[in-house]
Amino acid sequence: MVESSATASTTAEPAPPRTRRWVALHGYNVRICHWINVIAGGYLLLSGIHIFLDFPELYWGHTGYQGYPAIFRLSDWGLSWDEAGELGNRMWGRNYHFTFAWVFLINGVIYAVWSAWTGHFRARLWPAREDLRASALSGELREHLRWSSPARTAATRYGTLQKLSYSFMVFVFVPLMLLTGLAQAPAFAAAWPWLLDLFGGRQTARTLHTIGTVVFVLFVVVHVLEVLLSGAVNRIRAMVTGRFRLPEEAQ
């Protein structure tokens, strides 16, 4: 219901009535799930780093141990095995990683069911066909390279690049992180042996899971940067209260 009012306001673009300075931008579900995600994602990242630091090497295939040919060694980048071990606490990391994996998963399932049910995915997240035309994409890319713009500060719907990155995170990244995580767990690998075949071994799954962590950090950095460049206060307030203040130009 909140969602439909938000969609209504976006379809009313580009000229909302002069009297309306505020629009309902984000529904309850989006806001609650977003902030739970911030907490769960933060803990997953921190605890994941702890787990990694306790064994800071990556391998490919089924087998990998200290002394086995590695594809990545933290010690090659200036942090020795012992120094990394001092920083990382895998017990704390494992406890919190699995706890917040559940928080993240349950939150994500609620978000996904709600979004599919209300049409949020289709209306807001999934790029429309005309969004994907080369001219539209290059136009948007050029605009992003200009760093900040009034149009983006006033935007009440997601841009195509934004839709593509959100859709990638929801439909590709999260499922892959979940599966590469489960493939590392002996109980799940026994129940679902296809997990090991899918990724070609536990160490490959672990490596992909770590690469995924880097992708997650990049996503967060770009996401926060975009918020800062498009009216940080207004954007963050909209994600808290749901209401977005239209800038003067847009009124």
Binding site: G64, Y65, F98, T99, P186, A187, F188, A189, A190
Partner: protein, 252 residues
């Protein structure tokens, strides 16, 4: 797959009836919940993790077994690699000829097993991946006696049996529930990659519980105890790793 399931059914039939009774009656909640549920969100997640894993493993699947070509060039030694214990060192020098494993608690006929007794039990050989909770994994060939058959040789377990506790020479201890005990890949290994189990890997006997992480695969086993509750044992959490703060269920 059907072949594997048939194998498990045969094994299950070999396991004493009381053990199965324990699994089905009192063992129901044990299968889905750790013996001690930790407080807060972490405890809730523990129960979710264990019950989900066990629900997916309801048909007792085997952990993946690999071909010989996948065996790792070496098998790492980790943690305790040579217990500083006079009697243990004596056993090492005697090639464990006078070593004996007491099996007690809730078994019908408590008794001791020499290494030769254990080797005389039906042999199971499995090439599996050891999955360390720290992050490493290595594929190796293990040779040993199925735990369920060892318990059967001690007369089978009593109906109230719920956990099997393993005590190691160096003071380490761990426990597993009946769901893992009856599994055919749960073996007491005395051979690694075609040789006697080396001291660094837990000679003369270590547990292989293939669907759980490395820390549950206790080395240097000195005695085995079948219990109905873990409450009175050490700090009561069911293992030294869970005493430290690791999840008792090592499936993830």
């Amino acid at each position: 797959m059907s072949e594997r399931r048939a194998g498990i059914t045969r094994r299950r039939m070999l396991v004493s009836v009381p053990a199965l009774g324990g699994l089905l009656v009192t063992g129901c909640s044990d299968t889905f919940r750790p013996p001690v549920v930790r407080s807060g969100l972490i405890g809730a997640a523990d129960v979710l993790t264990m019950s989900t894993s066990r629900w997916l493993q309801a048909d007792q699947p085997l952990a993946r077994e690999y071909g010989r070509e996948h065996i790792a060039p070496e098998f790492p030694t980790w943690g305790q690699t040579n217990p500083d214990d006079e009697r243990y060192q004596q056993h090492v020098s005697e090639q464990f000829r006078h070593w004996a494993l007491p099996v007690g608690g809730l078994v019908e006929q408590p008794r001791s097993f020499s290494l030769a007794d254990i080797k005389a039990l039906p042999v199971r050989t499995q090439i599996t991946a050891h999955v360390c909770e720290q992050g490493w994994s290595a594929i190796a060939e293990w040779v040993g006696a199925p735990l369920s058959l060892l318990l059967e040789a001690a007369g089978g377990v009593k109906p109230e049996a719920r956990y099997v506790v393993f005590h190691a020479v160096d003071g380490w201890y761990e426990s597993i529930d009946m769901f893992e005990v009856v599994h055919p890949q749960t073996i007491l290994a005395y051979g690694l990659n075609g040789e006697e189990l080396p001291v660094g890997n837990g000679a003369p006997l270590r547990l292989r519980v293939e669907r759980q992480c490395g820390y549950k695969n206790i080395k240097f086993i000195q005695s085995i105890e079948v219990v109905d509750s873990l409450a009175g044992i050490r700090r009561g959490t069911g293992g030294l790793s869970s005493d430290f703060g690791f999840h008792w269920f090592g499936g993830v």
